[in-house]
Structure formats: structure tokens, C-alpha cells
């Protein structure tokens, strides 16, 4: 899906600049992106370089985040795991967005039995606790990175379906939609050109918030041993492995935990800021300034 029209994106970007928490969130996300793409080269050591002579060393100049019970460099593993988290977040939210928005558009535009069948299906998914559903899906498909992505994607699909459907229901009653019908535009064209751009704002917000929850869910699944399989690094898995050493080696849990915390916080900050900016009822910061001047 394209991110609405240029207007939405441009307006969002210009307004975000004037919002300090959003700037901070954006910087963290950019950092995460760089680490995710180039983590392997940034890491001072290999992710699986076992060195039994350097087991459980506290943070030092050689190993800023310390070493784990196998003598592996924790910093290198945290950096490498960023890629996993990003991948899982983007792919699973991508799945949820694609399926959820399609379902929501069909349900909201055609209403009637289409709406009933699709949304009751979504309600069933929605009724399960997030983690329980994800665990059930992993149990059926077997643990692993791809399954985790699919499971998290399925879990977040109903939210997108609902947000989309609600938007479609209000936009379809607008006069400009009737105007588009009156000039002979097809359903597909009206949905693509008129409905989707006008509901892009809540979807963009939902996407950024869902990325945070998806990464958290991946951490939870990995913690339970149902996500990324060892020895591949993942923040959730590292937390799990570190829990046995909480008293003697705090750095095993603190650094991956902080990575999860910062990432989720950053997505939330950006998501909240986008929500404020994209709410059509209120002016953006820069627009408000211009109108006062």
C-alpha cells in the first residue's frame, strides 16, 4: 500500500520536526535501521564466537556490554539481533496490513453478508489473547523465524481490518465518493483513489504502533523458545538465556532488555506524534503557526 497521498506524508514529516519526543523517536528508529542493515559489520566480534576463557565478563572496553555464559560478545549479539527484530516487525506488520486492510476495505465498502462473514472471522481472531493465539499458531506450524512472522501477522490482522472498516464506513458516505460514482468511476478506482488516501492517516498511525507491539511479541515468542532458534541471536531469546544469571551477570538481561525498551518506545513516540499530526480535525504545528502569523 502506498502511504496515502504526498500531501499526507509531507505534512506529517514537516510537523514531526517540531515535536521533540518525535524527533528522539525518529532518531532511535534511524539508528535501529542502520544497525539492522549494517549490524554485522558494526559488531566488534562475531555473534557466535565462543570463548570459554572469557565467560560472563562484566562490561569493559573490550566488551562494552560484557560477555555471556559462552564468552560471546553481548554487544555484537544485541546489534545482530536488531536485524531479526526489524525483520519480524516489518514482515509481520506487513502481513497484517495487507490482509487487514483488504478485509476492512471489502467489509466496509460492500457491507451486507461480505461484511458479516469477514468481520465475524476477525472477531474470532480478536477474541484470543494475543500471545495465546501466537503460541497456538506456532504450535501448529512449528517454531522458527518465519512461523513467528506469520503468527504475529495473523494476530495483528483484525486491528487493521477494524481500523480500515471504520474509516471506509465514514468515507463512503462522503459526497465526494458519491461524486466519483456519479462520473462513472469503478468500485476499484473509488476505493484506490478516494477511499484509501482518505483513511491513510489512521492506518499510518496503527502501523507504527503495531510495529512496536510486533517486536514485543517476537521478543515474547523468542523468550518462550517459539521464535528465533538458537544460536541465532534475538533479544527475547537473550533475555531468556540471561534470566538464570540475573544475580551474577546483570548485563546479560539489561542490554537486550534496553534494546527492546528503546525500540518499542521509539515506535510509540513516533506513532503518537503521527496520530496528533494526521488527525484531520486539527492543524499541524506549522499550519497553526502560519495561521497565527
Amino acid at each position: 500500500m502506498s502511504a496515502g497521498s504526498d500531501g499526507t506524508v509531507r505534512r506529517a514529516l514537516s510537523a514531526l520536526r517540531h515535536d521533540p519526543p518525535a524527533v528522539a523517536g525518529t532518531l532511535v528508529l534511524l539508528l535501529l535501521l542502520v544497525v539492522g542493515l549494517a549490524g554485522r559489520w558494526l559488531a566488534p566480534a562475531g555473534t557466535n564466537d565462543v570463548d570459554v576463557e572469557k565467560m560472563l565478563r562484566p562490561p569493559s572496553l573490550d566488551h562494552p556490554f560484557g560477555t555471556d555464559e559462552l564468552g560471546r560478545d553481548v554487544l555484537s549479539r544485541v546489534l545482530a539481533a536488531a536485524r531479526v527484530s526489524l525483520e519480524v516487525g516489518l514482515v509481520s506488520v506487513g502481513i497484517a496490513l495487507l490482509v487487514g486492510v483488504t478485509v476492512g476495505l471489502l467489509a466496509g465498502w460492500y457491507r451486507g453478508w461480505v461484511d458479516n462473514v469477514l468481520m465475524r472471522g476477525m472477531d474470532v481472531l480478536f477474541a484470543f489473547p494475543v500471545l495465546l493465539l501466537a503460541v497456538a499458531i506456532v504450535a501448529v506450524l512449528g517454531p522458527g523465524l518465519v512461523t513467528a512472522m506469520v503468527a504475529i501477522g495473523v494476530v495483528y490482522t483484525p486491528i487493521f481490518a477494524r481500523v480500515t472498516r471504520a474509516g471506509v464506513l465514514s468515507v463512503r458516505e462522503q459526497v465526494f465518493v458519491r461524486a466519483a460514482v456519479s462520473i462513472g468511476a469503478s468500485d476499484a478506482r473509488i476505493i484506490r483513489r478516494h477511499v484509501l488516501p482518505n483513511i491513510a492517516a489512521p492506518l499510518i498511525v496503527q502501523t507504527s504502533l503495531s510495529l512496536a507491539f510486533a517486536i514485543l511479541s517476537e521478543a515474547a515468542l523468542s523468550f518462550l523458545g517459539l521464535g528465533v532458534q538458537p544460536p541465532a541471536p534475538a533479544w527475547g531469546r537473550m533475555l531468556y538465556d540471561g534470566r538464570g544469571f540475573v544475580t551474577e551477570a546483570w548485563w546479560l538481561g539489561v542490554f537486550p532488555g534496553a534494546a527492546i525498551f528503546l525500540t518499542v518506545l521509539a515506535f510509540n513516540l513516533v506513532g503518537d506524534a503521527l496520530r496528533d499530526v494526521l488527525d484531520p480535525r486539527q492543524l499541524t504545528v506549522s499550519e497553526a503557526r502560519r495561521s497565527r502569523a
Binding site: G4, V175, F176, A180
Partner: protein, 354 residues
């Protein structure tokens, strides 16, 4: 005022027609709102048919029916000699090139996220009327010029334009597909008074230059008189009177038309002092359960016992003027004659005459 355009138009080819059309909407609990309840209209090529009535009279619904934007409950819709009543959604897209629509609120009828140029170009794209981006831009520029807008407005968004400019965009969009008929649904009602006149002049100029046919829907009687070759008055889902503006405005035959017109102030103080206002009692009855017999009888100062019995059809009063009232001329004369007019179970009609 507008009589000079009337005679030729009346002889034109039949372009669009509603035949005993009913559009009923479900209203919950099995009830149905009879928005349009037996309307027949004929629109001839090159003319402007004015459709007046209070809100809720069904005039907009009748206009929507011409584009099949609402589904008729019964009756027929014909456009260009073809019965489009049961056309499929796919076929209707072709119809909607030949019949275009201009909406009341130009702010609401333009997609806020699309540029003016994109909105005006949409019919061109939908009906594949241009084969390159260059041709599209040229045609959009042409259309904007035609409605008196600067070409550089094409890159703007609706919120950057004034109300009058936005309505010009709405008109340009309606013209893009080179339609035969344009349904103008209260096109000036949400505009400032000074802008209203500009838009009406624009519409008349376009009609003259492009040979357009209009269905002009409005509640503003003066605007309808100014714009129309023929006028139809609607009340509660029915047409109660039709004729030329000259006939209706000088010699209304139906009591409802007379009451509507008596509410319009006259600019000449001498005439204004002599003007009698006919005050109608009560509200328009619910279109869910309209009165039996004549629908206007519950509010008609001239209602007689047998008005409850017979549902009057439109009958010819004078050449070209038809009214749905068996007592047509005589009832109106009695109403305008003053307070001694019969006015069963209610206060005598107040008049401003002295």
C-alpha cells in the same frame, strides 16, 4: 423575465424522462419513506427544467434517479431514448458520462486529498477520453478556462479555493465528459449571494455556448425563475404543477404553488404592499405515511371534503401549464382574495396586504 427562451426549447427532442417513478427507501420496522412517489418528468434537449420544492419534497432524489444513483422502486428512467431503469452497474458507467451532476456543497463534493486538476480530470481518465498525460493536462486547462478559473489552480487542493471557485471546479468536472444533460442539485444554495449570481450566469453562458440541457434543482424560487425554461413544483414526492416560469409565477394554478410564491418578497414597494402572504398551517406530513387523496389537503387553505377521496392527476390548465388540483384556478383566486376565504378549523390566514 425569461420567457424569451421558452418557446424553442419546448419543441426540442426528448432527452431524458422519468415515467411514474417511485423511489422508496426502507425506514426501519418495515416502513418505507416515499421520497419520490409517482413522478413523471420530461426533459427536452437544450432546455432548463427547474425543479422546486421544500426540503424533503423528493426533488434531489428525482435528480439522482436520472443518473441511477438511487434505485427506482417502480417506474421507468429513460435517457436518450433508452430505458436505463434496469441497467447493470457496468452499463451505468457509460450512462454517467452522458448525464453529469453538480452537487450542492462544492467543499464536500471534491476529494480533499486530490488536486483540482486531478478532480477535473477524473471523468477523462475513467472514460478514457484522453490518451496521454499531456492531452489530459491540456483538456483540464481548457475546462478550467471554460468555467473562468486560472489554469494554475490545477495544482491546488480544494481547501485553498473559495466557495465560488470550488463550485466552478465542480462544474468543470461535470463538463469533462461532454455530457448531454447536467443535473444541478442546488448548485448555488451554499454560496454567498454575490457568488450565486456569478455561478448562475456562468451556467447560462455554458448552456448557450455548449448546447447543454439542465435539470436545475433548487428551493430558491427567484433563482429557478431566472434559470428555467420550464418549472416543476414538487410536494411530498409528487409534482403538483408544471409550466413556464411566466405561467407559474404570474398565474399559479395549484394552491401550493400560490402559497410558495406568496412567500417571495417583491422588489417593487407598491407591489410588495399589495402582496398577500398565504401562511400554510402545520408541517409537511411524513413521507412514510402521506395523506390519502390529495397530499396537500392537510395544509391546503382551500381543502374540500372530496379532496380526501380523489388523488388528483396533473391536468392541463392552460397550454403548457398543468396542475394536480381539480379546483385549480378557483382555489387560488379564493386564497388570494383575502381573509374571507374559507379556512376550515383554524385561524384565518394572516395577510400582509392592507
Amino acid at each position: 423575465m425569461t420567457t424569451e427562451t421558452a418557446p424553442d426549447a419546448a419543441a426540442g427532442e426528448l432527452l431524458a424522462e422519468l415515467d411514474d417513478l417511485r423511489v422508496w427507501f426502507p425506514a426501519g420496522g418495515g416502513a418505507r419513506v416515499r421520497a419520490v412517489d409517482g413522478v413523471s418528468l420530461a426533459i427536452r434537449r437544450g432546455e432548463t427544467l427547474g425543479l422546486v420544492g421544500e426540503s424533503g419534497s423528493g426533488k434531489s432524489t428525482a435528480g439522482l434517479a436520472l443518473l441511477r444513483l438511487v434505485d427506482p422502486t417502480s417506474g421507468r428512467v429513460r435517457v436518450g431514448g433508452r430505458d436505463v431503469t434496469r441497467w447493470s452497474r457496468r452499463r451505468l458507467r457509460g450512462l454517467r458520462r452522458r448525464v453529469a451532476m453538480v452537487f450542492q456543497d462544492p467543499q464536500a463534493s471534491l476529494d480533499p486529498r486530490r488536486t483540482i486538476g486531478a478532480s477535473v480530470a477524473e471523468p477523462l481518465v475513467v472514460h478514457r477520453l484522453v490518451d496521454s498525460a499531456h492531452a489530459r493536462r491540456r483538456r483540464v486547462a481548457e475546462l478550467l478556462e471554460l468555467v473562468g478559473l486560472r489554469v494554475d489552480l490545477a495544482g491546488r487542493h480544494p481547501h485553498e479555493l473559495s466557495g465560488g471557485q470550488r463550485q466552478r471546479v465542480g462544474i468543470a468536472r461535470a463538463l469533462a465528459g461532454e455530457p448531454d444533460l447536467i443535473v444541478l442539485d442546488e448548485p448555488i444554495a451554499s454560496l454567498d449571494l454575490s457568488v450565486q449570481a456569478q455561478i448562475m450566469n456562468l451556467l447560462r453562458g455554458l448552456q448557450r455556448d455548449l448546447g447543454l440541457t439542465y435539470l436545475f434543482i433548487a428551493h430558491d424560487l427567484a433563482a429557478v425563475e431566472h434559470m428555467s425554461d420550464r418549472v416543476a413544483v414538487m410536494y411530498l414526492g409528487r409534482i403538483v404543477e408544471t409550466g413556464t416560469p411566466a405561467q407559474l409565477y404570474r398565474q399559479p394554478a395549484h394552491p401550493y404553488t400560490a402559497a410558495l410564491l406568496s412567500a417571495v418578497p417583491v422588489a417593487d414597494p407598491k407591489v410588495e404592499r399589495r402582496r398577500r402572504r398565504i401562511i400554510l398551517r402545520g408541517d409537511v406530513p411524513s413521507p412514510i405515511d402521506p395523506p390519502g387523496g390529495c397530499r396537500f389537503r392537510t395544509r391546503c387553505p382551500q381543502a374540500r371534503p372530496d379532496c380526501a377521496e380523489v388523488d388528483p392527476a396533473l391536468t392541463e390548465i392552460t397550454a403548457g401549464q398543468r396542475a394536480a388540483c381539480p379546483y385549480a384556478g378557483e382555489a387560488v383566486r379564493a386564497m388570494l382574495a383575502g381573509p374571507e376565504a374559507p379556512f376550515p378549523d383554524g385561524p384565518a390566514p394572516r395577510t400582509t396586504g392592507r
